[in-house]
Amino acid sequence: MKTRSWILLFVLLMALCAGVLLLRPRPQGQTTVCIYQDGQLLETIDLSQVEAPYTIPLTWKGSTNEITVSPGSIAVTWADCGCQTCVNHGPLQPGGMPIICLPNRLVIKWVQDPVVDAVA
């Protein structure tokens, strides 16, 4: 009986550990980016799942940003705003500032930056 108890205990512990491992919160979004315009979430993209480059044209109040999504990378590659800050920003980098186009109210950021909690 004592041996059976220990076996039962062992099996239950293993099952619980497996459950904890499967159900525990995982670090999500470290390769996933969100595209917001005027505070509204437009699109979520897991860059690790991108197999071939493509572009997303976004128009807001008559102005356009062209976003290029590549395997592991995202950048604003063209914009008709005056300042071009979003284009000059280059690709979104871990630990770096989100890509922001103030005139077109566009923000591209990591769901969960793998390096920092915020950038100043």
Partner: protein
């Protein structure tokens, strides 16, 4: 019977321990909001059971402050001062202006809340930024100077006409201070606010670790040159990469020297300030940028324990004040400014 007792004595505590373990590994509830205010993109992230309501209240507070401090909102007292030359200030706005004036005095005008005519002259309030005519610039400059402001009770006026205010140099820092205080009043103990280049953190991260705040590399604004590990602290950067235009290969940025009327050419590319007050950090990041490295380092020595700073020079060299040793980390080499 003995076997059943053993099962109860061994299995149930083990199950309980596992359940507790599962509970400990659960995430603290959090809520985030992304929005535009004060002409910049903002993110607020709050942890705790009350996070959703707290985030909503924070967003509303910042939007209210945007309207209150804007010089383009005809309902704001600062707009009314800029158009009428005088205004009766509310106690709240008077207190903020007094903070701005104290900072202006401390920094000998390196931070000046009356820089508006110069900023307007360069077109930085609109889409058409340009190099102004010299005569136009000198006329604008003649209306700049915090010493022109006069306060009698709640009445704000100026001793010459055409003096205008722009509290944009401390508005975001003031907003983060107010928001953090409101979060504390709600009982929130863990939050991070990112208002453009202004970061302010409340408490520590869930689990007790410090927040990691990246410092933007002014030579590669999409990347960072290092990080600081902080709690209950504001981290604010002013840099040449934030707002600018280029003409004939020369970059004209938005941090103006009230002495010359031109973008400050102090040998620095960026200044990051680390201190508990968002308002102070915001104002000092501008002021120390205008001062340049040597004068800024000397100013820091006269204010022991008040703040710390990270400087990046035009040569790409990094300097940190001594208080950031052990707080700042970077894969690049840097020099420490001694007290």
């Amino acid at each position: 019977m003995i076997g059943k007792l053993q099962v109860k004595k061994t299995i149930f505590p083990a199950l309980l321990a596992c359940l507790l373990l599962c509970g400990c590994m659960g995430q603290v509830p959090s809520e985030a909001a992304d929005f535009f205010a004060m002409d910049t993109a903002m993110t607020v992230l709050v942890y705790g059971e009350d996070a959703k309501a707290a985030v909503s209240e924070t967003e509303s507070l910042i939007e209210d402050l945007d309207r209150q401090l804007s010089i383009f909102n005809s309902d704001s007292e600062f707009y009314q001062f800029n158009t009428a030359g005088q205004v009766l200030l509310s106690s709240q706005n008077k207190a903020l202006l007094e903070q701005a004036l104290e900072l202006a005095r401390q920094t000998d005008g390196a931070f000046d809340p009356t820089i508006e005519p110069v900023v307007a002259c360069w077109g930085f309030y609109g889409e058409e930024k340009h190099i102004p005519e010299e005569a136009q610039l000198q006329e604008s400059l003649s209306r700049v100077g915090y010493s022109h402001l006069q306060m009698e009770g709640q009445l704000l006026s100026a001793d010459i006409s055409g003096v205008k205010l722009d509290l944009g140099g401390i508005a975001k820092g003031y907003a983060s201070d107010r928001a953090v205080q409101a979060l504390k009043d709600r009982g929130v103990t863990s939050a991070v606010l990112s208002l453009g280049g202004n970061v302010q953190v409340l408490g520590a991260k869930p689990g007790g670790k410090d927040w990691t705040v990246g410092i933007t590399d002014p030579l590669d604004p999409g990347g960072q040159l290092g990080t600081v590990s902080v709690r209950d602290m504001a981290v604010v950067t002013s840099g040449v990469y934030q707002r600018y235009f280029e003409e004939d290969g020369i970059r004209y940025h938005h941090i103006f020297d009230a002495e010359t009327g031109y973008p400050a050419d102090s040998g620095l590319l960026s200044v990051s300030i680390v201190c508990p007050s968002g308002t102070l950090a915001d104002g000092l990041s501008t002021a120390l940028f205008v001062m340049g490295l040597e004068e800024a380092a000397q100013f820091w020595r006269t204010q022991p324990g008040e703040f710390d700073a990270i400087f990046v020079t035009q040569d790409g060299e990094i300097y940190i004040t001594a208080g950031l040793e052990g707080v700042f980390s970077s894969s690049r080499s840097y020099e420490v400014i001694a007290p």
